[in-house]
């Protein structure tokens, strides 16, 4: 029964894919070729990036479908734009040349050719096998007669339908096709995607380049991590030196003085004892703050979810925290995520003018996803120099990414993703 359902679903998908592949591929191919040809005239420089961006979106949608419908993963290898891409006309020209130099662009175009010729034929078989049976049955139900009378002599596959007998045979053959469909339909859809994968997946050279880029990125994030932790150590050292340590020294001196004058001047000694106690209390407070800055106690005790909840309780703004975590991540990841959330919240409170904040945390598919949303005035930018780039660097150490959506007028939504496993 599930087989039958799968076959029918695959048939429907095949039909969708055929239409999608034909219409999308032909339109995009024509536009791309024209646009690239027009580069000579100058107009193409402006249209090409737009067309190619649409093409990439189209290809990515396809990749999504391949994963969702047939479990075929088609990796992509578009080169990212450099972060210092200029804006305006020069930026446009730069973008155009970058996209044309990217081998992935040319593979996309090749794929479009395949996707409007061979690929639809494979996909269209899936619905055809099912629909052909229906046609066979319609013929056998008596429809063959008027067709024959009109001088038609309909062919059903290889059967020439001229009588009820041959019409029955056609119906039988149609049923046979349907049975075939039950077994091959999912394979046909899969075959269609496999063709796409053969065309789209990066070549060995592209993969090499991808690896090289990854090494670059790792070197960069490692530098950041080392710099960050060195700075953090310096801060801790300075805080201890100027704070708790100094207070303890003062306490020691007070105690020494007390020892000396406890008999000669009890009143003064008593006063100093009070001061020493005050100093010890303040040293404790400073140490506590310092510990919270390094690794918050609730984080150690309860994990990320409750630590963020506890953090939210301390904020001056009403903050809703929604947590769906089935376990705990590794301590360094938890810590990075916690401080990233903490910084995002601080940003929201300081700059957004919001009166409500929402934090949403969940883990799915090996990815910890956190969204911090406020209803403030928006306009936040992630870029060099902003607090957000600090968070980005922090997450980068764990291959995490940060995205900011903050249209002027708000709301601002900071989304973070960190690959990790929960235990």
């Amino acid at each position: 029964m599930t087989r039958l359902k799968d076959a029918v679903v695959a048939g429907a998908r095949g039909l969708c894919l055929t239409l999608f592949a034909l219409v999308g591929s032909i339109v995009l191919f024509v536009f791309s070729v024209l646009s690239i040809a027009f580069i000579l005239l100058g107009i193409g420089v402006f249209t090409t990036p737009a067309v190619l961006t649409v093409l990439r979106k189209y290809a990515n949608t396809y990749r999504g479908l391949a994963g969702a419908w047939s479990d075929v993963t088609i990796p992509h290898a578009y080169r990212p734009f450099p972060p210092d891409l200029r804006s305006g006309v020069t930026g446009q020209v730069e973008r155009c040349s970058l996209m044309l130099k990217d081998p992935a662009t040319w593979r996309d175009l090749q794929w479009l050719l395949v996707n409007m010729t061979v690929a639809p034929i494979v996909a269209v078989l899936a619905p055809s096998l099912i629909l052909y049976m229906v046609y066979g049955w319609v013929l056998a139900a008596g429809v063959w007669e008027p067709i024959y009378d009109a001088g038609g002599g309909e062919w059903f596959a290889f059967i020439h339908v001229t009588s009820q007998d041959t019409a029955d045979q056609a119906a039988l053959l149609g049923t046979g096709f349907f049975l075939l469909a039950v077994f091959v339909n999912p394979c046909l859809v899969r075959g269609h995607f496999l063709l796409a994968r053969a065309c789209l997946s990066p070549t060995a050279r592209m993969r090499e380049r991808e690896l090289a880029r990854r090494v670059d990125r790792l070197t960069e994030t490692r530098h950041d991590a080392v710099d960050n932790s060195a700075a953090e150590l310096r801060r801790i050292e300075r805080d201890l030196h100027d704070g708790a340590q100094a207070r303890l020294v003062a306490m020691g001196m007070d105690l020494g003085t007390i020892e000396a004058m406890i008999e000669t001047n009890p009143a003064k000694a008593k006063e100093l004892i009070g001061k020493a106690r005050q100093n010890s209390g303040e040293a404790l407070t400073e140490l506590r703050d310092l510990v919270r800055g390094i690794h918050p106690p609730v984080l150690a005790e309860r994990g990320l979810g409750d630590a963020v909840k506890a953090l939210a309780l301390r904020l001056p703004l009403p903050t809703e925290v929604d947590v769906e975590l089935a376990g705990r991540a590794e301590a360094p990841v938890e810590s990075a995520a916690y401080f990233a959330v903490s910084e995002s919240l601080t940003n929201a409170i300081k700059h957004s003018g919001a009166d409500r904040v929402w934090v949403d945390m969940h883990h799915a598919d090996g990815m910890l996803r956190i969204a911090v949303t406020d209803n403030g005035k928006g306009g936040a930018v992630a870029g060099a120099g902003s607090g957000l780039s600090g968070i980005e660097r922090r997450l980068g150490t764990f291959d995490g990414v940060l995205a900011v959506s903050s249209p002027a007028g708000g709301p601002t939504m900071v989304t973070m993703e960190i690959p990790c496993v929960l235990s």
């Binding site: 010890s280 005790e301 309860r302």
Partner: protein, 217 residues
Amino acid sequence: MRVVLAEDLFLLRDGLVRMLEAFDFEIAAAVESGPELTKALEELQPDVAVVDVRLPPSHTDEGLQCALAARRARPGLPVLVLSQHVEQLYARELLADGNGGVGYLLKDRVFDAAQFIDAVRRVAAGGTAMDPQVIQQLLTRRSASDEPLGALTPREREVLELMAQGRSNAAIAAQLVVTERAIAKHTSNIFGKLDLAVSDDDNRRVLAVLAYLDQGR
């Protein structure tokens, strides 16, 4: 009064034992880990438990969890939780069952022996003892976004803070060096401004305050 004490640092445990004994408490047991605490609370049925949040073997919030579990088994079992840091999250969990007889204090509060012992006695009697830091957090947070607290005079705010910590009118009067009658007047003003029904019960009073502070988050 019989006390079960749970604290993993030997020096602090020893100090607490001596301090409690000096104030005529009987130490039924002084333990250093979560499982031992659970066992002691079950078998010895103390009048009050003084518990460190972080205990072995897990060194997380084991002490708090044991205390909460013991209170589920024996509702109203007086528990005073001590911690190196205070969090509203934990305070809420302790107050959640509404049975009273809970306290949540920073470990530093043992420096002031008299106040600390007062807190233990209050909790043992079914009252509450909340750390001023927790209350302060709650109050600043609320006043930032809310009107009714803004309507309080500075003196009334002071009284509210002490009240929320779990102090009786007499204790508040002593601390602020005014008469008890003056405090009674302040409290009824506060209840009026905050729309709370007047009650003689100390414990319900604190719960009402906290419940009020909790709403509208």
